[in-house]
Structures are given as C-alpha cells and as structure tokens.
C-alpha cells in the first residue's frame, strides 16, 4: 500500500487510479446493507462471483459488494452500471440473465421496477419514483464503492476535501466555513456544529478529543449504520477535518458492537487510512497528527447520550452527568471533547470541498443541507431516504414512500423514537425541519420516521415507548427512574381497560416533573411521546378510559 507524504503524491496517485478505471465498463453493485443481508443478498453476490468466473468475464464486467443502496423494501438490490439499471428482489436464479442483459446493454425486464398503479416498467435509478425525489449527497456514493476498498473512495473524489483543508486552509478557515454553512447536528438536537467545535477549540485545556457518535440506539432509525457501514471513509474524512479545525490529535468512533459488517468495515477503513497516511503523524506533510480509536457500545440506549458515551469510552458505566458541565469543555478524562453524530461528520467533507454557500443553498431557512431519514412501519416502500431539509412529510411518505401499505389510510407519523412524538395525518404538509417539527411536538431526532395506519392503537404506542425507556433508564436519578415507572403504570392501566378519570391529568403532571427534574435528556424528553399524545390524540385516550373504566 502506498503511503503519501505529500498532497502532490496523493493527487498523482488518484490521477493514475482514475486513468486505469473505465467508467463505461459494465459493473454490478450488489447491496449488502442490513435489510438485503437479511434477505440473503450474500447468495446473490456469490452467484455473480461464480457466474463471472464460469463465463470468464473478468476484465469485462466488474462486481462490487456495497453498502446500503436505500430501497430496502425491495431487497436484495442490484444496480447495473454504467446505466444504473435497478434490479429488485433479485435471486441467484436471476444472475445469468442480469449479466447477459448488462453486457448487451439491455434490460432484464423481469426484475425491474413496476409502478403499482400505472404498471409502467422503469429501469434507470434516476426515474424510479423512490429515488427520483431524493437528493442523495451523502448516501449516493454507496452503490459506487466497496467499503473495504479505500481506492474506491478515492475514485469518487474521497479525501480531496482533506487535502484542500490541510494544504489551503488554516484551522480557523475550516471552522469559519463550517459555521457559515450553518451545519446543524444530525444526532437529535440540531445544535450548530460550528459553535460546538469552537467551544472545544477555545477551551483552555490543550489536549482535546473529537468523537463520532455511531451508537444509533433510536428505535426504527437505521441510517447511521447504513452511512458508516457503506461509506466509512466519508465519516473518517469528516472527523479528521474537524480534528484539524479544533486542534485535536485523538479521535474516537463509538458504534454498535452487534453489527459485524459495520465493525469490519470501520476497522478496515481506519487501517487503510493509516496506511495511506491520512491518519498518524504529519498527515500529508502538513505537520498535523491525528489518530482514531474504535469503541463499542455494549447494548444500552443511554450510552448514546454525550456524557454517558464519554464515560463508556473511559471504561466506566455510562451514567450521564448533569448538563451544566459541558462535554465540549470537559468530556473524556475531563478534557474538552467534541461529539457529533455520524451523519454530521459525513457532511463535513462536502462543505469543505464545495463551499459553505453551496451547502447553505440546500434545505430550508434554518435547517441546511440534506437529511437521511429511515422510513418504516406501515409504508409501502420502506428504506433509507435522503432529501433536502424542508421537504414535506407528504413527499416523504407518498411520493417516495408510496403511501400506506395494504390500502389502509394514514393515521399518524412518529419521529424520533422513544424521545420523539406522533403527529396526526392533518400535519402531512409539515416540513422536515429541526425547528418546525420540534414546535409541532415531533422533533425529528436522528431521523427515524415511522408510519402508522388507521388501525394503530395510540395508547399502545405510548405504553410501548415508555416500557422501552423504563428498561433503558440508568436509574441514577430519581425523577427519571420513578417518574417514568409511574407513567408506565398509568399507560398500562389505560391500555388494559383500567383507566381512571384523573389519569390524563396525572400523566400530564408526571410528564412535567420528569422533564424538569431529570439529569439527562433521556428522562427530560421521556415524556415527549406522552405529551404529543395528550395534544393530538386526547380523544382516543378519553374514549379508552370511558369505555374501560369501572372504578371512578
């Protein structure tokens, strides 16, 4: 493996790399994302390998096993280049035909998209409704690269932003660019990334850390995993650029232990980045040193919270600390530590490469750029979607998601998992925007969007979410531990037909106290689903109590 001592060496290498690749050569990309993997895409990939060997096609047809393409509902997904023909629900038996068609510049019609209404057949990715309405700046490279090959990332322009930052910008320039881009954190809070970076940068303590939060504990959220598994170098590149701006020489990636492919890809990417000289000492001759360590969550939701996560990296139990100590000033081993979500970091390279103005030109007034959303529940097309901020729920659910499955009507959408909220169908024209969704009581959280049909029992949803949180509370502070437990008792009572007259008032009070009194955001926002229920679905709750209650 080459080790680059200067940017010029790297640029020369990339030029050779591109010259050696023929963009017109047919290439098959087999998705190995979480859903496709569960649908045995490995057997499809193996069938391609075997068939290519059998027909002796090496050199005429490339094969790539990639991260998530996005249209999880219809997996296993295969995309045939150079025309980007999408094949869905592919089985090993389809492989010879797909190869034949691809080499002949034709389309194998049996497995392409078919519009459920018009019955029209659509082959190219750019015309399929699911993809057509998306702007895939972050996830779009997934089908174009093998996550285990750093050269594939270089071939799509990877690490060019790092070169630009290290050779033409000072750390202050980089920070200023990110601030002007108005990049906001994708992990749930929507906090301005530039402002957070600046706090850590300006903290008096010399040793500083940067961390990528890839814990993704939010239920029904699966886009961070898809990003980090499918294109780990994009996140790593963002992290290095951030470390340069902030003045950190040590970084951490904190992610799930229970996704073997994710672990394998991140480990390989870190090793390759180090071998190429993008990590380590004197990166590309700039004099900047930076290393990254990989850490695993060990199966508890609260370890995604900033202070708990940092305790976990130190090797301790993940107990959150009160918020008046800010982790950006005093985090891991009490050093200033800047934590951002995986998707936040993934946005950094393009901001540096294409500039803050370009980035700020995408999205809504106060929420810039695109957002990855995982669509699931009672929806026709479940999967990972990337749209500009400001896109309406209607576009997400109907134009892209294909509406509600089984011909049912839409009742509600839920954003943000256990700390989010549910919105009734009347808000279908609300926009995907940090502030607008928060104001409605359904903060977008990390971006898990759950679609619920007309048969959904909203009492059960709140009970389910509270049950989840009660199990996940670390138990350190009383309001969270006891408050949630009491709310769960009331919700269970209502769900089981033992609701009482004053239950809703009591729920509202408990929600208030738990929000005010808890130490960390887990307890503070635990009542968010309940609040949204009381705001939008109160009638359903009252009816349930009236119907079921014998005792006053």
């Amino acid at each position: 493996m080459p080790k680059f001592n200067t940017a010029a060496e790297l640029e020369q290498y990339c030029a050779h790399l591109l010259a050696a690749r023929d963009p017109a050569r047919p290439c098959i990309a087999v998705c190995a994302g979480a859903a496709c993997d569960g649908l045995d895409s490995a057997a499809v990939a193996q069938a391609f390998t075997d068939e290519i060997a059998r027909q002796n096609l090496a050199g005429r047809l490339d094969l790539r096993v990639t991260g998530c393409h996005g249209f999880c509902e219809k997996g296993p997904n295969v995309i045939a280049g150079p025309q980007d023909i999408c094949y869905f629900e592919v089985t090993p038996g389809d492989v010879p035909e797909i190869i034949r068609a691809t080499l002949a510049g034709e389309v194998y019609e049996a497995k392409i998209y078919r519009d459920p209404e018009t019955r029209e057949k659509i082959a190219p990715m750019s015309e399929i409704p699911y993809y057509k309405h998306q702007v895939r700046l972050l996830i779009g490279d997934n089908p174009r690269l093998d996550p285990l090959k750093i050269d594939d990332y270089l071939a799509v322009g990877g690490y060019a932003a790092l070169v630009k930052a290290l050779t033409t910008m000072t750390p202050d320039d980089v920070l200023a660019e990110v601030k002007r881009a108005d990049l906001r954190g994708r992990g749930g809070g929507g906090f301005p990334a530039g402002a957070k970076w600046e706090t850590t940068k300006n903290a008096p303590e010399k040793t500083k850390y940067v961390i990528a939060n890839g814990h993704e504990g939010e239920s029904a959220a699966f886009m961070d995993r898809a990003m980090l598994t499918g294109n780990p170098h994009k996140v790593i590149e963002g992290l290095i650029i951030g470390a340069y701006a902030i003045g950190a020489h040590q970084g951490f990636i904190y992610t799930r232990h229970d996704a073997p492919r994710l672990v394998e890809h991140v480990k390989a990417a870190l090793a390759q980045a180090e071998a190429y000289g993008f990590l380590g000492e004197n990166i590309l001759g700039s004099g900047f040193d930076f290393k990254v360590e990989l850490h695993f969550d060990v199966g508890i939701f609260v370890s995604g919270e900033s202070s708990a996560l940092m305790r976990s990296i130190e090797g301790n139990a993940p107990e959150p600390r009160p918020k008046y100590i800010r982790t950006s000033v005093s985090g891991i081993w009490d050093k200033p530590s800047n934590l951002n979500n995986v998707e936040t970091w993934a946005n950094v390279p393009q901001i540096i490469a294409r500039g803050a103005e370009w980035f700020a030109g995408i999205g809504s007034e106060k929420s810039k750029g695109t957002k990855l959303v995982s669509l699931s529940g009672h929806i026709v097309n479940s999967g990972i979607v990337e749209v500009p901020m400001g896109t309406t729920l209607r576009t997400l659910i109907f134009a892209i998601g294909g509406g509600v499955r089984d011909g049912k009507a839409l009742k509600a959408v839920h954003f943000g998992g256990a700390m989010g909220g549910s919105l009734p169908v009347e808000y279908i024209d609300a926009r995907l925007d940090f502030d607008e969704m928060s104001a409605l009581g359904a903060p977008i959280g990390a971006g898990g969007l759950l679609v619920m049909n007309e048969d959904t029992d909203m009492v059960d949803i709140a009970r389910y979410l509270m049950d989840f949180l009660v199990r996940e509370s670390c138990g350190k502070c009383v309001p969270c531990r006891e408050g949630m437990f009491q709310m769960l008792k009331i919700l269970t009572g209502i769900a089981e037909g033992r609701g009482r007259k004053f239950d809703l008032e009591r729920l509202a009070e408990l929600a208030e106290v738990t929000s005010l009194g808890s130490l960390c955001a887990l307890g503070k926002t635990s009542a968010a689903p309940v609040k949204s229920m009381l705001q939008y679905f109160r009638d359903e709750y009252t009816a349930r109590i009236d119907a079921g209650s014998q005792t006053p």
Binding site: A34, A35, D37, G38, L39, C72, E73, G75, E216, G217, E218, S219, A220, A221, F222, R225, H257, D258, A259, P260, H295, F296, V298, G299, I300, F301, S312, E314, G315, N316, A317, P318, S374, S376, G377, H378, S382, G383, H414, G417, A418, G448, L450, M452, T456, I461, Y464, L465, F468, E472, C474
Partner: protein, 150 residues
C-alpha cells in the same frame, strides 16, 4: 482453546484499567458469558477493583453472568417490529421454546432474548438466531426456523 484466547485477551491488556470494557466484550464474545472467576482475573490483571468489573458486567446488557445456550435467539422488539406484529412473534417463540426472555433451557440449546431495534426495520418482524437474520417472520414460520438450530 477458549481458555488460551481468554488468557491472551487478559494478558494483552495487563495494567490497562481503561481497557475494562474492551476486555469484557472480547471475553463475552469468546465464552458468551463472564464467569466470576474470569472477572476476578480481569480485575486483578487490569488493576481495577472487582466491584468495578462486576458493576460494568452487570450494568451493560451485552454481558451475561450466567452461561448461555448453544443458540442465541433474539426477537426484535424495536418500534417497527412492534408495530408490525413483533409481540405475536415473541409470544410464539416463547411458546415454542418454553422460555421467557433472558432464560436458557435446561438442555442448553436456546437462550431467548428480546433485542431492541437491530436496524433491519424494512424486513421486520425479525427473528435473529446466532446473528443470522430471519426477516418478515410470521408466527407460523417460527418452528421451521428454530428446527434449523439443533
């Protein structure tokens, strides 16, 4: 073989208290549980009090202080799976194995766990056995899937 692997994990981190979680995770992967005697050796080698090792081992859900069955059966109880019938699936698996979540059968064949969201929501409800995903599960398919794991 296991014993050697465990000894190697411990030796590689001798004197590194901050590696506690790493070490326990690695041993959990190797033995699939954390015997008390091993915890004592870890604590001694890394230089942390046994109480801290026990705190970590009992706090995080990944660690088990009792032996597990040959096959780990997870029923996803994430939000999407719940919405799409995860409860009925779990009930069926409980019936088929005779286990409640967290339990292991006397023959040591299965350990049943309810797993929070594992991120394959598009193919929920899900049954995951030894890390292998069985998506779009119905209660009727449970027996057939479990029979694949003797």
């Amino acid at each position: 073989m296991c014993e050697q692997a465990v000894a190697a994990i411990i030796e590689n981190h001798r004197g590194q208290p901050e590696a506690l979680i790493h070490v326990l995770t690695a041993i959990q992967h190797e033995l699939r549980w954390l015997p008390r005697e091993v915890l004592a050796r870890v604590a001694e080698a890394l230089g942390v009090p046994l109480s801290q090792a026990l705190q970590i081992a009992s706090f995080y859900k990944v660690f088990s202080l009792t032996p597990k069955g040959r096959h780990e059966v997870h029923v996803c109880t994430g939000m999407t799976c719940h919405l799409c019938g995860g409860d009925r699936l779990l009930a069926k698996v409980e019936e088929a194995t005779g286990l409640k979540p967290g339990e292991t059968d006397a023959a040591g064949r299965f350990t049943l766990e309810r797993g929070s969201c594992l991120g394959s929501c598009s193919i929920g409800p899900e049954l995951i056995v030894d890390g292998r995903h069985h998506g779009r599960m119905t209660p009727e398919q449970v027996e057939v899937v479990l029979a694949q794991y003797p």
